[in-house]
Symmetry: D3
Subunit: 230 residues, 6 copies
């Protein structure tokens, strides 16, 4: 693999990103057919943020953040920076100064399969990060990687320009060509859920609302009065 | 094991549950003889909640929440729903809609040895969950399990009707027949601790208050002035 | 190893501790040459605290907090209590009563390579703890250990009197003899970062500010317009 | 929970144990309806052993093997000793001397949700152990637990006398009352598999043998010639 | 993502696969520029096997092996079957019967980011498997996935036809288009190492052989006689 | 911390090392008062080796093996090389070539809190390694560390010259000044165990041999005939 930076990528439409951010990770994940979800170890360093934007992708050697500095220049307003590593790593590859640089370019968040530091200042400046660890461990600038080449981050292959959706439930990545379809399905799902929520809140049982009783019976579910009756 | 739902269970007295909720997990765990504590990976999805109630128990296949839908119908006001899995799993088997259904029935919380999603809405609606992971991963409805059959959840065998106590310190389960005894011991312990707290706050040493100096000496503890003196 | 308590230790100067607390863990870690950082599993039980103080050290058997009681007496105003174990352990070896005793002596925080309980009361009383787990699991008082003998805690060898710095980024330990040098370097670093932060916030690229373009080119970094051009 | 030793337990019939040992863990687990399997972290300390026998159960405090010594006396020829702990623990609670004592009584193996030591001598004497860790960490004899009271071990609730089956695939526990039924189903399953194995070895496809093509098609599976055709 | 099976894939040349198998994982990984290595949790279920072959890829839902049955039909002589999951999973999705079917088609090994069972029979029949866990946990056949669509397995994105190299050091994946270049570089590397091995075995120091003394000195390395001299 | 190599260290007497190697890790750990044991994640890459020797210590940055090359020159016949890292790391920092160099100098083994590669050749050449992971991941040579300065490795602080004992049970480190005392106690312990082993093999109960019945009774242990009698 050559150490390369790709300058031009095709970004998911910004409006679609906005729709997906509003839908949230869990709804998008369902609408996408239950794929594209990063590992559950990816957690927000502070709660409450919710973002979506096209991915600028970085492949970095473990414990080396040189390529993140390189990637900043390739970022545009609304982007999400996505960093994968060539080996498992928890070092603090990202902190307040890099966040300042990204914020100045309008980047809306960072997703990194490694560690993050400066948690308190990042929260104060309102820059959201999803990472696998919090670590003050400083990193070197010794080895090259790639920018805007497809990268595996926390179990998901991210193509540059794919839309990354992240909130308190985690991080999901939708391929650019499916973004519109997923947004549409997600909005339909949300509308359906709204109706269901009202019925459930009124005391209706999911067993009835979803017509589960018959398939459960067919599958062999038995009801007894007491444990001793089994 | 037959796929069975047991309709009638004997619940721990609600008043006792209230007493145990007030005592909190750590005091209850001590009063119970230091048993019944779930694994430390069971964490609240939002901080500050404190509940206790009789267990309605579910055994579910990993990544399959069909039986949770079945269990809702068996829940009553004040219950805690407890979900164990037949294999390690972190998928998001529970979210806002199921919480809406449980809340409508007066269920006070969920304890699940798997993942949970919709973290932000769950916090907003004030429904507390203790889980091993946060995950947007959707689940199927394909395989049966059991409801109100004893289930191992996060290392503890939970009998239906046992009282489940959960707060920021974790989750502890007390067998129904010991609940009154544990409540009584816990209240005594709390009263004792109150007196101790005052003495310690006033500067008294635990070494003196607990009469530890003599047993420490007998066990062979040595005091020296400097490290070099050893 | 004899079970011994060392009464007199040489503490890092309190003023220096204050400087290091202000610098914070990440800056101190960098100024110290990127060593001395505890494992990333050491997390604050509540966010926002920031402390630094000389270490009083405890080596405890797993699941046994007898030596913590012994150590309280050796603590002075401004100290940080540091507890290591002879084997991996997550039991709740520390809680509200011990915190009350430490607070009465002016101890500013606890760092423990084991579990902690009473999370809510500890937060309410403002006593900060960094631990590897939260656990209600009670402990015994059966086996001796040491106090103020060097101890390995979460991967770092801590000498009594070394300064322990802890905040939301984790825990770093600086040897007493290097504390002044690290404080000085850290302050210089902070001043430098302040200037850099302003330039980055104004949109200057790190690539230019750090003069990275030439070494990146020498290392072989290539820019292409499209992925297909590689 | 009182610290108690139960002297008389009802053991699963020895002949049935022999049948289940021959079937092996994976077949027994399937025949039992895919329940009863211990966590996958339970591994044999040496490969190749295969045992089954009625459980003598121990609940021990972490890092304390006093109750294992107590349990030896309750063991009979053909038994499997099962040890659970009240908290997660990896200490070396079992070694060569205890194995010598168990072997003298005819015990066929140990299953322990903690650590084991003396790996080489245990292998030389042919005593099989399934444990969560290998650790030389010595343990104390300070706190009581129970013998022959139901115990949760590695995620499974084990009743004294239940049959424990263990081999290179892990450990599964079958309730005494289901042992005969499971043995019968397992033997049928094994016979079926034998026929299937021959057909598959001859090149027949599982797709055809199991008649999967139709349900796959109904579920919506599509075949295309090239990736680009999707 | 549509549930699709791609029938025709472009396989890495078999001769090249043979060369890469001989080079072994560590050499191939170096020759490939230190990328393409799967997570270190991927371990052989038995030691000593060494294989390389074009990937037939499967994306499966966790705990569901339906698509593995589908994939068998797409396998040819010399292939390696690669299975990724949509969520973390350790269930025993693969065992002896599937291995029999794969072996009948000439498949040389399986790489699965989930569990494997029937360890002993698989070893006896000489079918090598690299997996993240050993587990008897049976799986369902309820949900579709994909075959021969790119899949992330243990942190690496695998395109159908890429060459998978696996031995006791782990698993590395080389893109088809780089296979020849990597093979060539790897053979050169091996030849170089052979010469180095002889010099090192004769007592020559790496410091001298690699000319490290000067760069070490420039980087600031200091030699002192005693620790006290620092 | 300056990047320094200390040339002269005081090694534990070779004869003592031989005695400790014969005693083995578990006995040495007990004789040393149950301290000095490395984390249980440190496992031999091949089973059966048993070594002891004075430690030559390395502190390395994660994913950087430059200092191991430096350390080779400082090694003498009978030494054990011990490598700690400044952050958690599993990269393959050590392989066949370095082993060839160490073997040429008479080094008897390596203990590394990181990854190791070339497992098969290392086994074939009989060079034993205890590591936290097996990984083909190559490393850089970019950042300095230290040689023969005290280092924390897998939870234990190792002083240069301390004796490192390693076998299938793990790794234990004994301070040089305690080596003779530990050897003596260990030999006595072994002799005692020999006598005990014979008595236990003859069917005597540990309960009687260790006179446990009385203290167990005093602690409150109760015997009942059936579980229902509790």
């Amino acid at each position: 693999m050559k150490p390369v930076v790709v300058r031009n990528i095709q970004r998911t439409d910004r409006k679609l990103c906005g729709v997906l951010a509003n839908l949230g990770v869990s709804t998008v994940h369902e609408a996408y057919g239950r794929i594209g979800l990063m590992k559950t170890y990816m957690r927000p360093i502070w709660a409450g943020a919710s973002v979506a934007g096209p991915a600028v992708t970085v492949l970095a050697p473990p414990g080396d953040n040189w390529m993140i500095h390189v990637a900043v220049e390739q970022c545009q307003k609304g982007d999400v920076l996505v960093v994968g590593c060539t080996a498992d790593n928890t070092d603090g590859m990202f902190g307040e100064l890099l966040a300042t640089a990204l914020k100045a370019r309008g980047v809306v968040g960072l997703v990194i399969d490694a560690g993050c530091r400066d948690v308190k200042p990042l929260k104060e400046m309102g820059f959201p990060v999803w990472s696998r660890a919090i670590s003050a461990k400083g990193t070197v600038k010794a080895t090259l990687g790639t920018v805007n080449v497809p990268v595996v981050c926390a179990g998901v292959n991210v193509e540059p320009g794919d839309v990354v959706v992240a909130d308190d439930d985690g991080v999901v990545v939708v391929a650019r060509k499916y973004a519109a379809e997923v947004a549409q399905k997600g909005e339909k799902r949300l509308a359906d859920e709204d109706a269901k929520r009202k019925r459930l809140a009124a005391g209706e049982l999911g067993l009835d609302m979803y017509n589960m009783r018959e398939p459960l019976g067919k599958a062999g579910l038995i009801y007894v009065d007491r444990l001793e009756d089994i």
